[in-house]
Amino acid sequence: MNQPQLDLPATPERLRVLADSGVLPGDTHDLALVISVESPSALFWRRFLSIGLLGLGSLLVLSGVVYFFAFNWAELHRFGKLGLIAAAITASAIAAWRLGETLAGQFALLFAAVLVGPLLAVYGQAYQTGADPFELFLGWSALIVPWVALARFGPLWLLLLVLADVGIGLYWEQALPWEGHGAQAALGLTLALLNGAAWAAHEYFAFREVRWLQSRWLPRVLALMTVAPALAVAAWLTVAPDDGTFAHVACLLLVGAIVALTWTFHRRVRSELFFLTLDAFAVMVLVTIFLGISLFRGSDDTNDWIGATLMMGLLILGQLAAAVFWLRSESQVRGGEEA
């Protein structure tokens, strides 16, 4: 969704533009600079300190609890260990229920969700279930799904996705008999598709104006989590095309699809230069690796090496200039940088 120019942050660059165009003459420009970097009001400071202290305090308490159980206190009976964690989870869940949809309530639910992992670990250790690590992570993610759905809290959704990714990765390593580049590529493709589905779901519901999904940090993180595995696998294909499998090709096509879809999203839905920058980076990586391999493989002597190295430098510069030109053009089409 495009913002009018006046609703964008008053950066020094924008104020300079207004000064140069005569809208903010002389002293008025100086005043505007002071206002733009003026310390926030006491109310905002209070909110900032509240959020900061809550976040750090919760993280420390959570870490302390995790360390407590990592200590593996041998004297404590298994019922005691399980009981303590279960009590902490129950207390956190009750606190989340009482605090409701406030930030404190959401952090309390995050706390409870994180504690489910140590509960499963202690259970597996106490009863020697012989469970593989991937079962712990997948079980952990499955158990917290109801809370994640109820919380409407971005970090909790991210936790669920990370647990699922780790569980799938461990499953691939430990349970599947499949080995080699093909297995790695299939894992990369699976993770990219899973994270991509989460990303697409976020954008769909954000487009439907679900209130808690309007912040842009989460889809950007999801975009990185989608592109990274796909790009890594696709890059391998450019290095060793003869070793390519279906998964390698699929990842390459997926990167292309992401570029096309994010460009369409930027043009039709909302300005998102971050996605386009990520696209440009991905395409540059693939093109540079492909051309680099081609240039250096064909180099037989020192002169060829020098020429290839020089060409690589110029190719990178050329791609960079083209990418910047494209990105600036796209930002002009949409009419402004998102906040």
């Binding site: 924008r14 600079l33 202290l53 750090l56 305090g57 190295t309 910047v324």
Partner: protein, 370 residues
């Protein structure tokens, strides 16, 4: 809660003070639209992308030129690299001043970086002295900081100047001198952002952002290098370092002075309840983390970032605070159980402090300023 005020909010404030006419909003919107159509947007991640890409290009160009020189008789001595590097830098400067298109900007950036590399290689090859090389790097970076009209290059020049200065301090006074330098850089960082509005009024305006962020990276780079992992990686002995609490005290003083300036800007006395709470919290933070100076430095940077409404600095402050926080607890020479207790105690303390802030300083919507 948007961190930075919008253009509309700034214009409204100016209009309410009688500094602007009623139609200033329409003229401003037209001017910004016109500028955006001509230049497009340049957010921080785009600049990082361009900077990293230019580095890679400069690396390849520098290697190619170096290999070419090795093969030519002219390159029999490193002496040839100095004029070649200087000419390359000069050509890059001329190109950048003459053209501001995307390809020209990137080419000029890459050429300048490659030229500086060649120049320093030549100086190092002739003198065999890292000290002289660092002096040359400092001078070249300083000159280019003022003369090269590109924000990414200015950032790299400022960072290069900081690194050269720290290296010179190390050569002169070993690690203790570097640590004194880090405290000085931290003080400079806080000064730049506190004086941001004043500095942006004159010719130094375009240096503020690049220099500010270069100082951030330089300070935290030293603090990271000073950790146990960093020292091992750099091959130094821990006995060469000054006692860590001294560095923590130095950085704490910088953060305290910065906090006092923030309080002063709000008209709050240091001896008032709010002032004592703020300064006391910083002192307590420093006292509890004497062996990890990065924590108090990051806390100070975080407060500065929010004070000056800088989102990127705020993000960096959060990352460094979490990173150094992890290092602090990792380095504690305690059992897991004791560490658990330390974390629980710290966490409860912070949550209690939050309750104190919420109860003592009640929210009053009337205080909220547009």
């Amino acid at each position: 809660m948007a961190l930075k005020p919008t253009v509309r909010e700034v214009l409204s404030r100016l209009q309410s003070q009688g500094a602007l006419p009623a139609d200033a909003g329409d003229k401003a919107a037209a001017a910004l639209e016109r500028w955006h159509r001509e230049h497009g947007a340049s957010p921080w991640y785009l600049r990082v992308f361009v900077g990293v890409g230019a580095w890679f290009a400069a690396l390849f160009l520098g290697v190619a030129i170096g290999m070419l020189l090795i093969l030519t008789p002219f390159a029999a001595s490193p002496l040839s690299l100095i004029p070649l590097g200087a000419i390359t830098i000069g050509a890059a400067l001329a190109l950048r001043h003459a053209r501001s298109g995307d390809f020209s900007s990137q080419l000029a950036l890459a050429k300048s970086l490659a030229g500086q590399g060649l120049l320093l290689l030549g100086v190092g090859g002739i003198t065999g002295s890292l000290l002289i090389g660092a002096v040359v790097a400092l001078i070249v970076s300083g000159v280019l900081l003022f003369s090269f009209p590109d924000p990414i290059h200015r950032f790299l020049s400022a960072l290069g100047a900081c690194c050269a200065a720290l290296f010179l301090l190390h050569q002169v006074g070993s690690w203790p001198a570097v640590e004194v330098g880090a405290v000085a850089l931290a003080a400079a960082l806080h000064l730049v952002f506190h004086q941001e509005a004043q500095l942006r009024r004159d010719e130094l305006a375009r240096l503020v952002t690049p220099t500010g962020f270069a100082l951030v990276l330089a300070v935290f780079g030293v603090l990271l290098a000073r950790t146990s992992g960093g020292i091992d990686a750099l091959g130094f002995a821990t006995s060469s370092l000054a006692p860590t609490p001294l560095l923590t005290v130095g950085l704490a003083l910088v953060s305290l002075v910065s906090a006092w300036r923030i309080l002063d800007e709000h008209g709050i006395e240091a001896t008032s309840t709010a002032g004592a709470l703020a300064l006391g919290t910083l002192v307590l933070c420093a006292a509890l983390t004497l062996q990890t100076p990065g924590v108090i430095a990051a806390a100070g940077a975080l407060a500065l970032a929010f004070h000056r409404r800088n989102g990127l600095l705020l993000g960096m402050g959060v990352v460094f605070l979490l990173g150094f926080g992890v290092l602090y607890y990792y380095d504690l020479a305690l059992s897991l159980l004791a560490k658990s207790g330390a974390m629980l105690g710290s966490g409860v303390l912070l949550l209690a402090l939050r309750q104190l802030v919420l109860r003592r300083f009640t929210a009053d919507p009337a205080q909220e300023v547009a």
